[in-house]
């Protein structure tokens, strides 16, 4: 029994050593695999570098320049092509103001004095004044409007357009009462300068311009 103890020790030590060696071997193989991955990364990086160099060489600035000279002919922007900011950019994209001949005419600014009304508009003078005032209030946004304020304003604008107020209105021509004058009216309307004292307001609701009288007045007001 005493002799076996020594053998046991030898076996134990040998086993432990072998175990340690196995662990070590395992670690070494893992480390080798890791190195292999690192190597592959390095090789991939090297390939990337080579490809980048090739792309950079093929797309070198001199080459791009010669393409530009021969084909594209792009040039540096001129001073007037630079903009000050968003507002200047917005002005470039602003739609051109186009007059709609079917839109009613309203005064852009001060409400018309009832006294100044001429022609057959006396009966609607009071109403006209109110309509203009309402418009001004809408424009200034100083007070709360009723829910249907927009529609109301438009309606009134329509009425105002239907019965325009203009001091220098020329006398109506009899032929103007005919519906055939519509294209002519359009031409005249287009000829009106955009920045004139009168402005056309687009109305969703068509003005009550069905009657020949109102249409005559309308056409006169536009002249």
């Amino acid at each position: 029994m005493r002799g076996f103890r020594e053998v046991g020790w030898v076996i134990a030590v040998a086993g432990t050593t072998l175990g340690c060696y196995m662990v070590n071997l395992r670690v070494a193989s893992e480390r080798a695999a890791l190195d292999e991955v690192s190597n592959r990364i390095v090789l991939a990086q090297r390939d990337i570098r080579v490809l980048q160099t090739e792309i950079g060489t093929r797309g070198r600035l001199e080459q791009l320049e010669s393409w530009n000279v021969r084909v594209l002919a792009l040039s540096a922007p001129q001073a007037h092509q630079f903009l000050e900011g968003e507002f200047q950019l917005a002005t470039l994209a602003a739609p051109q103001k186009q007059l709609d001949p079917s839109a009613p005419m309203v005064l852009a600014a001060a409400p018309a004095q009832p006294k100044a009304v001429v022609g057959g508009a006396e009966q609607g003078a009071e109403q006209e004044g109110r309509a203009a005032r309402d418009l001004l209030q809408v424009a200034s946004l100083k007070r709360e409007l009723p829910a249907s304020a927009d529609e109301k304003a438009v309606d009134k604008a329509g009425q105002a357009g239907a019965k325009p107020v203009k001091a220098e209105a020329k006398p109506a021509t009899p032929a103007a009462a005919d519906k055939k004058i519509v294209p002519e009216r359009k031409d005249k309307a287009a000829a009106t300068p955009a920045g004139a004292a009168v402005a056309a307001t687009k109305a969703k609701a068509k003005p009550k311009a069905a009657s020949p009288t109102t249409s005559t007045k309308d056409s006169k007001a536009r002249q």
Partner: protein
């Protein structure tokens, strides 16, 4: 009684032999033991070493570590990180005639088919020349390598060698320089930073230059088109950031391809921007006026000088003006019309010694202290110089500097009056800007702005005006010196030195053309106002947006300081 005296008795022979034998045995045992111990120690050492290696040693299969990407020579990149010089592995094909086993005639025929620079007889002569090693092609294309490999001739050796490649070819070639066949820097930044680029500790990080590839390309292209248009033999351009002294672009024409630098024409290898020294002519007048403003000899832009048709210098030489006034003229007018007479009179007021001091402070009497090895010492007279020389230097003759000197001088004058060494390495946290030394006062620097702008708005440099970028600058036309002495009547060096934007100077640039010809476009003129100035304007219009500047038609230098002193001709 007396005891017998012991007689000399010898030990019996047998006994003596036994004693000796024992002694020998002892010694032998001892020696054997020592030998065994030695062997044991060696074996133990080997075992211990094996165990040590087993436990802590490197894996035997390990070949390439993570540092394998470290290039054999560091990259050079521009300030935006675009690679300008890289080392890649390229194919090298060589022939070892002793190892050729096939028919040499067939091999020579195949070689002449693949590499037609020599015919079959030529290749055969090469193979039979008795050399042991012949380079067939360095930096060979993969297709050629594949074809040569397919020949199956063991005498053909294929190998990969590190090779320096300049991907942008001609771009900034004179700045980059090139390497020799052994991969050592031979010129330019390659030579200046050879240790940095090859040292294992530093070559992993690229060398970042101050130049910008896009700006460099724009400058090179515009100069090349000007050179072609005016049929000049060469051109140079330098762009400096006047606050830091960084060289943002610098070029010299004819173009140089650093990939084949050794095979290029010497004319192309010559760097006109830093090696060529030229009399810069009227571009010097700006400095003369600035010196006089700084010393107080010129009190204001309205100070009058007698600019009549001719002026006799003390030595008897007579100078005239290209735009003669024929009357007294103000300092503003002298600059505007580039009057030699007026500038000579101002220079005489400043005096030779003070002029020399200023030139010394601006670095005009020494080599430009910057990285490139290729730089020339300016040509100047020996001090002290006389009054006639002072006047001559005053309008830009009798002294020759490089275009880089001139750009550096303008940078000094317009950055507030502080001289800073130019640099080709990007200024950042690791490389701070060089400390400056004051040359001109801030007031002088400020006053000179409107004067220089006046030259472009109303004077000789109108064609340099890039709309919206507030260019200020001065034209300079100097006759080219002839090799045998004297000056050419037909060849000029025309230059334009300028600064922009003039209301808040940021960049100084010099554009120079060597011997431009008159064309129909210039109405027969060869002066700088007709060739260098428009080139300058075109370059500014192109590079200013790249530099982050936006044109502004509402801003300008304070022209109210000079316009009252300019007579409006009717």
């Amino acid at each position: 009684m007396n005891a017998p005296t012991p007689a000399l008795v010898a030990r019996p022979e047998r006994l003596r032999l036994v004693g000796q034998r024992r002694q020998f045995l002892g010694i032998m045992h001892q020696r054997l033991m020592v030998g065994m111990l030695l062997f044991g120690l060696v074996i133990a050492a080997v075992l211990l070493r094996l165990i040590w290696l087993g436990l802590f040693g490197d894996h035997a299969g390990r070949q390439v570590g993570p540092s394998a990407l470290l290039p054999t020579r560091g990259d050079i990149v521009d300030r935006d990180g675009k690679p300008l010089a890289r080392t890649i592995d390229s194919w090298t094909v060589a022939l070892q005639p002793a190892k050729v086993i096939g028919d040499k005639r067939v091999l020579a025929a195949n070689l002449s088919r693949l590499m037609p620079e020599k015919d079959a007889a030529g290749w055969l002569a090469e193979i039979n020349s008795g050399k042991t090693f012949i380079y067939l092609r360095r930096r060979a294309a993969p297709r050629l390598v594949q074809a040569l490999n397919a020949l199956g001739e063991p005498g053909i050796a294929l190998s990969r060698e590190p090779d320096r490649l300049y991907p942008q070819t001609d771009l900034a070639a004179h700045i980059l320089g090139h390497t020799d066949i052994d991969g050592r820097g031979a010129s330019g930044m390659e030579r200046a930073f050879d240790d940095h680029l090859t040292d294992a500790a530093t070559r992993g990080e690229p060398l970042v230059l101050s130049i910008s590839g896009r700006i460099q390309q724009a400058l090179e292209h515009e100069l090349l088109s000007a050179k072609t248009r005016f049929n000049a033999i060469g051109a140079a351009g330098v762009l400096l950031d006047i606050r830091t002294g960084e060289i943002l672009a610098m070029t010299s024409l004819p173009q140089l391809n650093p990939n084949i630098a050794g095979n290029m024409d010497p004319e192309a290898q010559f760097n006109r921007a830093t090696l060529g020294v030229y009399e810069m002519g009227s571009t010097f007048k700006t400095f003369t006026v600035a010196m006089a403003l700084d010393t107080g000899d010129v009190k204001g832009m309205g100070q009058m000088y007698p600019c009549y048709d001719r002026l006799a210098l003390p030595g008897g030489r007579v100078i005239t003006d290209t735009h003669p006034f024929g009357r007294a003229c103000s300092v503003a007018e002298i600059m505007m019309e580039s009057s030699n007479i007026g500038t000579a009179l101002i220079a005489a007021k400043v005096g030779g010694e003070r002029q020399r001091q200023f030139l010394k402070q601006m670095g005009f009497l020494d080599r430009v202290p910057f990285q490139l090895p290729e730089r020339s010492r300016p040509l100047s007279l020996k001090a002290p110089w006389g009054e006639a020389d002072t006047m001559t230097i005053g309008f830009g003759h009798a002294m020759a500097v490089t275009p880089l000197h001139l750009a550096s001088g303008y940078a000094t004058l317009y950055n507030g009056g502080v001289y800073r060494k130019p640099t080709l390495v990007k200024v950042d946290a690791r490389h701070p800007a060089a400390p400056g030394r004051r040359v001109f006062s801030e007031q002088t620097s400020y006053k000179m702005r409107s004067l220089l702008r006046l030259v472009v708005t109303k004077g000789t440099g109108k064609k340099a005006d890039a709309v919206g970028y507030r260019v200020g600058g001065k034209t300079g036309t100097a006759e080219k010196p002839l090799p045998g002495g004297g000056y050419s009547k037909t060849d000029n060096i025309t230059s334009f030195a300028g600064v922009f934007p003039m209301d808040e100077p940021r960049y100084a640039m010099v554009v120079m053309l060597d011997a431009p010809r008159a064309t129909a476009e210039t109405y027969g003129w060869r002066t700088a106002g007709w060739n260098a100035a428009p080139t300058f304007g075109r370059v500014v219009a192109r590079i200013a947006p790249m530099l982050g500047m936006r044109p502004d038609l509402k801003r300008d230098a304070n022209m109210g300081e000079v316009l009252p002193y300019v007579r409006e001709e009717k």
